[in-house]
């Protein structure tokens, strides 16, 4: 069954189809929420809220864009609004347990680099950080980012370029690693 048929069945009230649609997309939604929030509890909250909204609004999905694109627009909206709300309050957990990490096949960054990189990315303006995480970390295209954030593709590219420039300055102590 293709996704269009699956969505039609969800609209018709098929709970099994609803679960299938959830299973097909939950990993990517949760990954993006976790990357942006840096906190498991918040990532779960945001993922939950994303799917509740998506199921509520499925009637307004016209299929003009891919379902995943539409879903990730909801995800970024939920996550960014949620993070703004808790920004003043929440203390981000600094320690990420690598043993629980998934999908990382490259070598781990050195501890000092890891901490410095985290700090540098956290300090980026919200727009730069979001685009950087979506593009360079999670592999979204500029077109997908543009739709998700409601900005032009050129804006996404410009923000990524500025984010990289800031990170390059912040991580200049490690220049020998990328020069060699």
């Amino acid at each position: 069954m293709d996704e269009t048929q699956l969505i039609a069945r969800v609209r018709a009230g098929d709970s099994a189809a609803e679960r299938a649609l959830y299973d097909a997309h939950v990993d990517r939604v949760y990954r993006l929420a976790f990357r942006l929030a840096g906190d498991d509890t918040l990532a779960q909250d945001f993922t939950q809220e994303t799917f509740i909204r998506a199921f509520d609004r499925l009637g307004s999905f016209r299929g003009e864009a891919a379902f995943s694109t539409w879903l990730h627009a909801i995800t970024t909206s939920v996550v960014l609004n949620g993070l703004r709300k808790v920004k003043r309050f929440r203390q981000r957990e600094a320690d990420i347990d690598d043993a629980h990490s998934i999908g990382v096949t490259r070598r781990d960054a050195e501890p000092d680099l890891k901490a410095r990189l985290k700090k540098a990315v956290d300090e980026l303006p919200e727009g730069y950080r979001t685009v950087f995480v979506m593009h360079d970390v999670e592999g979204y295209t500029h077109e997908e980012i543009g739709v998700a954030l409601g900005v032009e593709t050129g804006t996404s590219k410009a923000q990524l370029s500025r984010a990289r420039a800031k990170l390059r300055v912040a991580l200049s102590d490690f220049a020998r690693e990328w020069v060699t």
Binding site: R19, Y22, D23, V26, D27, Y30, R31, F34, R35, L36, A37, G38, D40, T41, A43, Q44, D45, T47, Q48, F51, I52, F55, K85, V86, R88, F89, R90, Q91, E93, I96, D97, D98, H100, S101, I102, G103, V104, R106, R107, D108, A109, L113, K114, L117, K118, V121, F132, V133, D136, V137, S161, R164, A165, L167, R168, L171, E177, W178, V179
Partner: protein, 212 residues
């Protein structure tokens, strides 16, 4: 000046290194799915749209205001004390203030108790239910005119977050750490101090009488 887009070595190095940034854990699929189902089931019973929340909050405050009004009128007759005249225009605001003070007093008690219980990493199951109840009230307060108060609104937002965190505490494993994090957050934002500052001293009836 080097254009960042023309430095593929740096870009590749950055992409590799950035994989450690907020590296996600395995998706707790079942847990999230259960929560989605639970939330949607609850909403099917009573779905509170924003205007309904406001109406509910207004109705609740009205009932409390009328109750307090009758109570204070009764007290005035009993003790034959002089009654301070108020205009009808000021009464709705006062009713909201009274409702807010009662809510703040309950929240203060709950969070003080939470701090005490978190020292042992234990939590009474009824405690979480009480926190959930207060969370609902907090959201109603945020949607009511009480949130127009510039001092009260940020406090309500902080309380909403704390209560939401408490209602989502894990049942056993990792609970102590989570409780410590909540306490840390409360300390950083001086939540209890601000809550106590916003709550006048004295028993609840005295506060209500003072407000009126």
């Amino acid at each position: 000046m080097i254009d960042q887009d023309e430095d593929p070595k740096f870009e590749q190095w950055l992409k590799d290194a950035a994989q450690s940034y907020h590296a996600p854990r395995a998706t707790p699929r079942e847990k999230i799915w259960q929560r989605i189902q639970q939330t949607r089931r609850n909403r099917h019973v009573i779905e509170l749209r924003p205007w309904m929340r406001w109406a509910l909050a207004a109705a609740a405050v009205l009932v409390i205001g009328i109750g307090i009004g009758r109570w204070t009128a009764h007290q005035a007759v009993v003790v034959n004390a002089p009654v301070v005249a108020t205009t009808d225009a000021t009464r709705p605001d006062l009713a909201y203030q009274v409702a807010a003070q009662q809510y703040l007093a309950r929240t203060e008690v709950l969070l003080t108790d939470f701090r005490a219980q978190s020292a042992h990493g234990q939590l009474d199951p009824q405690f979480v239910a009480a926190a959930r109840d207060l969370l609902t009230t907090t959201r109603l307060m945020l949607d009511s005119p009480a949130a127009d108060d510039a001092r009260l609104q940020p406090l309500l937002e902080d309380l909403e977050l704390v209560l939401a965190q408490i209602t989502q505490l894990p049942t056993a494993t990792g609970r102590k750490n989570e409780m410590d994090l909540i306490n840390q957050g409360m300390n950083q934002r001086s939540v209890l101090t601000r809550l106590r500052t916003a709550t006048p001293a004295g028993p609840a009836p005295a506060r209500a009488e003072g407000a009126l």
